[in-house]
């Protein structure tokens, strides 16, 4: 145990995800030894993130104004909405450059074990967006696990009667990898989902 401020810092850092007691201590002493202007910049960034960042009123991605950058962009089309669980999924899909439509961030997935039901997700808001009639396709890009699949099925059942095209991202082998290095679960699923050429 250290005294006063340094221990407070270690304790606070230790509460962050992915930071164990050893890392917390290392970061704390790094901060202590760092240039005061660097530390001030970090402190200011921490303050700003809480003061300035909000959630986009349309898609619930992180934003600095009423609407996020993607929702404001007039060059993107409104015909397709890609539904994801978290803002970080938006970033991942944006990196591909494949998608020029809009997003909708649910804020999680249906998970009864953790008490998350449809009412805890931004599903009502999604339905409101779809009712405008401009959207032609809904792309379900929730995680390929039990909860993500359940959320995708739930949305598909909900949206199908509206006559939209509903699609789900494919799952299978990573590109550029060797077949032999794929784990047996992924490879087994890719086998099941094989297609005719």
């Amino acid at each position: 145990m250290y005294e006063g401020a340094i221990q407070d810092l270690i304790d606070e850092l230790g509460r962050l995800p992915g930071v164990g007691p050893k890392s917390a201590q290392r970061i704390a002493f790094h901060v202590l030894a760092a240039d005061p202007t660097d530390v001030k910049r970090l402190a200011a960034a921490l303050h700003r993130v809480k003061d300035l960042v909000r959630f986009c009123t349309t898609c619930f991605n992180v934003a600095e104004s009423e609407q996020c950058r993607i929702c404001r962009d007039p060059r993107r089309h409104d015909e397709a909405i890609c539904v994801v669980e978290e803002p970080k999924d938006v970033v991942a899909i944006e990196k591909t450059g494949e998608f020029r439509g809009r997003y909708h961030v649910l804020g999680g997935a249906i998970n009864p074990l953790e008490g998350v039901g449809p009412d805890n997700l931004k599903i009502r808001e999604l339905m409101a967006r779809l009712s405008s009639g401009e959207v032609k396709e809904l792309i379900l890009a929730t995680d390929p696990n039990t909860e993500g699949e359940a959320t995708a099925t739930y949305l598909a059942l909900l949206v199908k009667p509206m006559g939209l095209r509903v699609t789900r991202l494919a799952s299978g082998l990573p590109v550029g990898g060797d077949l032999e290095y794929a784990d047996e679960v992924t490879l087994g699923r890719a086998f099941e989902g094989r297609r005719v050429l």
Binding site: P112, T146, E147, T153, E184, G188, F191
Partner: protein, 373 residues
């Protein structure tokens, strides 16, 4: 495959021991409590990452030691592979395959394939259905590793669906009404989808296993009735294809919904199924003698061994404390049945209990040491 060398450090009663093996039969002889079973338990741990005797790791480490190490050289189709496992209670196990550490201990699964029969396996016959379901599922995964995913997907969906039903049930009890079941249709669909895959796989496995069980029981019990195994589901059907079973299961969930909502738990699905064991037309549980029950349990393990072998996976066979339970005639028949195995390891207290057919290498086990004799 066969085990060529086993080294234990601080495992159970052994501070350090090295045993060299050859293909074919190997017999561990020693009086009760000197540590014969500890040797085969260590092999079982490398093969399955769990002990057949205890559910926690603490008893595996010698009293006073920090961690136990099991090192094993396995020869498969002429190639030798080193497997090392470090067991430290309260921490994640560390494993090495060849010379390299593995990222996850479960990467060593498959390096040593083993079918082990021990006195504890009597619970396959006498115990709860859960043990028989585990027997089937473990064998499924041994035959086709992708069933590990089918099994865990099903368990996850089941857990989520049960959580939903239970939360709604508790809400109703507290408030008198309500409870959000709006996603139940979704969980029904997923439960039927994953459940039917597991169901279909178990049905197929049971069909493949049945002739082996009959033959093995006939050998160890010498013609006292025909041993049969039959997959038993509450939703009895003649269908076997996953697509058809999915419909059956979906229908059962639909019809059973009022009852499930009432009780707050999932009542239909392969997690409620069982493997019925029959001698002639009579169920083994409740009707069979101790000897018959024991022979049936042995027959199931031997059948699993024969099935894997027939499909090109030649596991090591381990028979822990088996021969003392058998009369002379049945000993000979069992020896004939397993004598052709690439490697069969046997433990016994009395040397003379093991038939001449299995007179391969002999190991004298004494307190904390093993001597090749």
């Amino acid at each position: 495959m066969y085990v060529r060398r086993l080294e234990l450090v601080d495992f159970r009663s052994y501070p350090r021991v090295v045993v060299e093996f050859e293909p074919g039969p190997g017999v561990f002889v020693g009086s009760n409590g000197v540590g014969k079973t500890n040797l085969v338990e260590a092999l079982g741990y490398v093969a399955t990452l769990s002990s057949h005797r205890v559910s926690t790791d603490a008893p595996l480490v010698r009293i006073g030691a920090q961690r136990a190490v099991v090192r094993c050289a396995v020869v498969h189709e002429g190639r030798e592979l080193l497997v090392e496992l470090q067991i430290e209670p309260g921490k994640a196990n560390k494993a090495r395959l060849g010379r390299a550490p593995t990222t996850r201990p479960r990467d060593i699964l498959g390096a040593l394939r083993l079918v082990l029969f021990a006195p504890e396996d009597l619970s396959l016959v006498r115990g709860e259905p859960e043990g028989r379901r585990r027997f089937l599922d473990d064998l499924l995964v041994a035959r086709q590793p992708r069933f590990a995913a089918v099994r865990s997907d099903y368990e996850r969906v089941l857990k989520q669906r049960n959580a939903l039903l239970r939360t709604a049930y508790l809400t109703r009890r507290v408030k008198g009404s309500g409870g959000d079941l709006s996603t139940l249709d979704v969980w029904d669909a997923h439960l039927a989808e994953h459940g039917s895959r597991l169901w279909a796989a178990r049905l197929e496995l049971t069909a493949a296993l049945a002739p082996h069980v009959e033959r093995a029981y006939d050998a160890v019990a010498a013609g006292k009735g025909t041993a049969r195994v039959r997959y038993h589901s509450r939703n009895e059907t003649t269908e076997t294809a996953p697509q058809e079973l999915e419909k059956v299961l979906a229908e059962a969930l639909k019809n059973g919904r009022p009852q499930e909502v009432e009780r707050g738990v999932t009542l239909a699905g392969p997690h409620r199924d069982d493997l019925s064991l029959l001698l002639g037309e009579m169920p083994v549980k409740g009707y069979a003698s101790h000897g018959e029950s024991w022979s049936f349990a042995l027959a199931m393990k031997l059948a699993a061994y024969e099935l894997l072998r027939a499909e090109g996976i030649e596991p090591v066979l381990v028979l822990d404390d088996v021969f003392a339970e058998l009369d002379a005639g049945r000993r000979e028949r069992l020896a004939d049945l397993v004598g052709g195995a690439e490697q069969v390891l046997v433990t016994c207290a009395v040397d003379a209990d093991v038939p001449a057919r299995l007179r391969g290498a002999r190991y004298a086990v004494r307190e904390g040491e093993v001597e090749h004799g």
